[in-house]
Amino acid sequence: MVKNKKAAKKLKRKKTQQSILPAAETIKPLTDEKKFEKGKESPLIEIRTVRFDFIGKNKYWIILSTALIIAGIILFFIRGFNFGIDFLGGNLMEVKFKKEVSITELRKLMEETGYGKAILQSTDKDQYIIRTTPINEEQKDSILNKLDEEIGIEKPLVQDREVAAGFSKTITRNALIAVAISVVGILIYVWIRFAVRFAIVAIIELLHDVLIIFSFYIVTFREFNTTTIAVILTILGYSLSDAIVIFDRIREELRVNKRDSFPLIVNYSINKILVRSLSTTATTLFPVIVLLIIGNETLKDFAFGLFIGVLSGTFSSIFIGAPILIAWNNRFPKYKK
């Protein structure tokens, strides 16, 4: 009991020092019956230390996230996605020239061939991606011959693609079907293992992450292609495990701690899981960041999406999922308010 008093005193002092965190620390008698049975540990107090208050200052984080999504939506209506040819259809040639060439020179040559509107993108001083509307073999050859005469090109081409317009519809549709089915599967699984509200919150988190990735692609005008879809699917997996790990901690805490309020339990759980969350984010991001630095354009595109997505996935489980769970519980109490 001496220790109990000491701790209580300690707590009182802390409370006056940090009035920002009013409900953040409590003392509670140890209620875990198993520990009693073992009799190894004396049933004293267990202090729930909360180092960071994730729930109180939460507004700002949600505002940040919402602002990003809104910016994305606005720009979506202004200029939309920078879709790759797998979505729009058309031809793409990546050409390595025999000498360095500036984009203006190349543009001029393209105008002479009658394809001045082609999208030109430099991948190296002597290497360009040329994107056109759908053209046939003869038209393609006429462009390549012209470029070969004037500058000289290395054969074979670095890449050469031709996509029928509307083909991506099937890819996108398939991806959507796949996502819809997995969402249903996840809903059911999380419902069984946790509770229906956890399942729905997990889905909301996923939705948030997808919207954030979309917004980043719109705002930075990065090319959106089928690889991007794979990236988004990857992030769904990542974000989901992140959400589940926190849910698991909350579930465990709810079982042993019958005394504290739900918001406190959530806050405590997040604090306990924080080191793990940040560590996992770091370890997942290491290879992604390296790719972002050393990779070629294709890899960078793909690493960029993963980078944003992993950050968003970690963020959403803490700052989006938790407050919704608390708000839900305030409206429809299932756990101690």
Binding site: I45, D86, E137, A178, L240, T298, F302
Partner: protein, 429 residues
């Protein structure tokens, strides 16, 4: 805690698995099949379209796939892959082919050969035909060559049934013109002078020998039961693919080193166990990919990157729980057992939900997305296996060793701190 013997057996089993994986990994250069986006080559996606009244059935597509494969084989392209996706599109992959024009020509030809009587020519000089009397499926042989007057021709031989029909047609229509129509284009229309027995016929009017060879080839391999529409042709040059691959491997190696340093810094001695686990993970992953002969693609690498994160995550979950229990002041072995038990649910739940996603992607995804789903699923299963069985065995083997101190695990309990009976540090003196 299970017995020491059990743990030893687990470790021995793992060593055997590693040995098997090493066997599949060898030779390192070529054990894993690379997708076209990493090794260079051409991919053609074809959409089957119903022809007239004929429906696109699953059998028809199977047959088309088989015919396409035969045609590519005859072109002498090595290791072609003809697959089919969830939408019944036919995907043709030609590694190392950087000029696909001829391949596309040959693949796309329906090779619908028909013999009809030419009835008249309309005002636009379009031929008007009678009903189809004989089709190319009764053909047994077709070859390109020159005839006696030096013209390029394709000679054809029919089977017995075809030969009988041909004889009947020619005998009934002496004096008429017999049109030979390939893919709705009239190739020639010789006048039938007499009944022809024996079942040989000739296609004339072909400009080059190369084209004659292609026609002979498509006739030989049979007519496609469906029309095919090209959806996508993608050629990746050899340099781009290699660049992507090398950079991904380099990123993997550097990423691995960073993860290793991080784990050592955070968990000290336990980090070492985790690095061993991660190395095992890479070997087993590699071995399984090599054994399954699944080609790995760029999106597949995304899956690998993610699963390495997940594999490490399981370790982090377990180790932080062990640390937590130790800080509470529990004994070493109690902390290990409790830490494991507490982390178990989180690991299983998060991995199963990810597996659900992978399964849905595999079932309903197209080409590259499928590749991604496969690597994701394999990675998750291996990582669960390693974290929950192998690492557990190692941990429980070493837990009683004297070298395993709280410091070894990275737990620091400052002596000058006030620690309550639960081990929570409540403040300094």
């Amino acid at each position: 805690m299970r017995s020491r013997l059990f743990n030893i057996i687990v470790i021995i089993v793992f060593v055997i698995i590693l040995g098997v994986c090493f066997y599949y990994m060898y030779p390192f250069q070529s054990s894993i099949k690379l997708g076209l986006d990493l090794r260079g080559g051409t991919q053609i996606i074809l959409k089957p379209i119903e022809r007239g009244a004929e429906q696109v059935t699953s059998e028809a597509i199977d047959k088309a796939q088989f015919i396409i494969l035969n045609r590519i084989d005859s072109l002498g392209i090595s290791e072609p892959l003809v697959t089919r996706d969830f939408n019944n599109n036919i995907i043709v992959q030609l590694p190392g082919v950087d000029d696909p024009e001829r391949a596309i020509d040959v693949i796309g030809k329906t090779a619908q050969l028909e013999f009809k009587i030419l009835q008249s020519v309309d005002e636009n000089e379009n031929p008007v035909f009678g009903p189809t009397l004989l089709t190319g499926d009764k053909l047994v042989k077709a070859a390109a060559g020159y005839d006696s007057s030096g013209r390029i021709v394709v000679t054809m031989s029919f089977n017995d049934e075809g030969a009988q029909q041909f004889e009947k047609i020619t005998s009934e229509n002496v004096g008429q013109r017999l049109a030979i129509v390939l893919d709705d284009e009239m190739k020639s229309a010789p006048v039938i002078r007499q009944a022809i027995s024996g079942g040989d016929a000739v296609i004339e009017g072909i400009p080059t020998l190369e084209e004659a060879k292609d026609i002979a080839l498509v006739l030989q391999t049979g007519a496609l039961p469906v029309n095919l529409e090209i959806q996508e042709v993608q050629t990746i040059g050899p340099t781009l693919g290699q660049d992507s691959l090398q950079q991904s491997i380099l990123a993997g190696i550097i990423g691995f080193c960073l993860i290793a340093i991080f784990m050592l810094a955070l968990f000290r001695g336990l980090g070492l166990i985790s690095i061993t686990g991660l190395l095992f993970y890479i070997v087993i992953f590699w071995g399984i990919l090599a054994a399954l002969e699944t080609p790995i693609t760029l999106p597949g690498i995304a899956g690998v990157v993610l699963t390495i994160g997940i594999a490490v995550d399981a370790n982090i979950l377990i180790f932080s729980r062990i640390k937590e229990e130790m800080i509470k002041g529990k004994s070493k072995s109690a902390s290990f057992v409790e830490g494991f038990r507490n982390a178990l649910k989180a690991i299983i739940d998060s991995n199963i939900t990810t597996l659900i996603t992978a399964a849905a992607l595999y079932r309903f995804g197209t080409g590259p997305i499928r590749g991604f789903a496969v690597t994701l699923a394999i990675g998750i299963i291996i990582s669960m296996f390693i974290s929950l069985i192998f690492i557990r065995a190692i941990l429980f083997m070493v837990v009683n060793s004297r070298a395993v101190t709280p410091r070894f695990i990275g737990v620091r309990i400052p002596k000058s701190s006030l620690v309550d009976s639960q081990g929570e540090v409540v403040g300094k003196k």
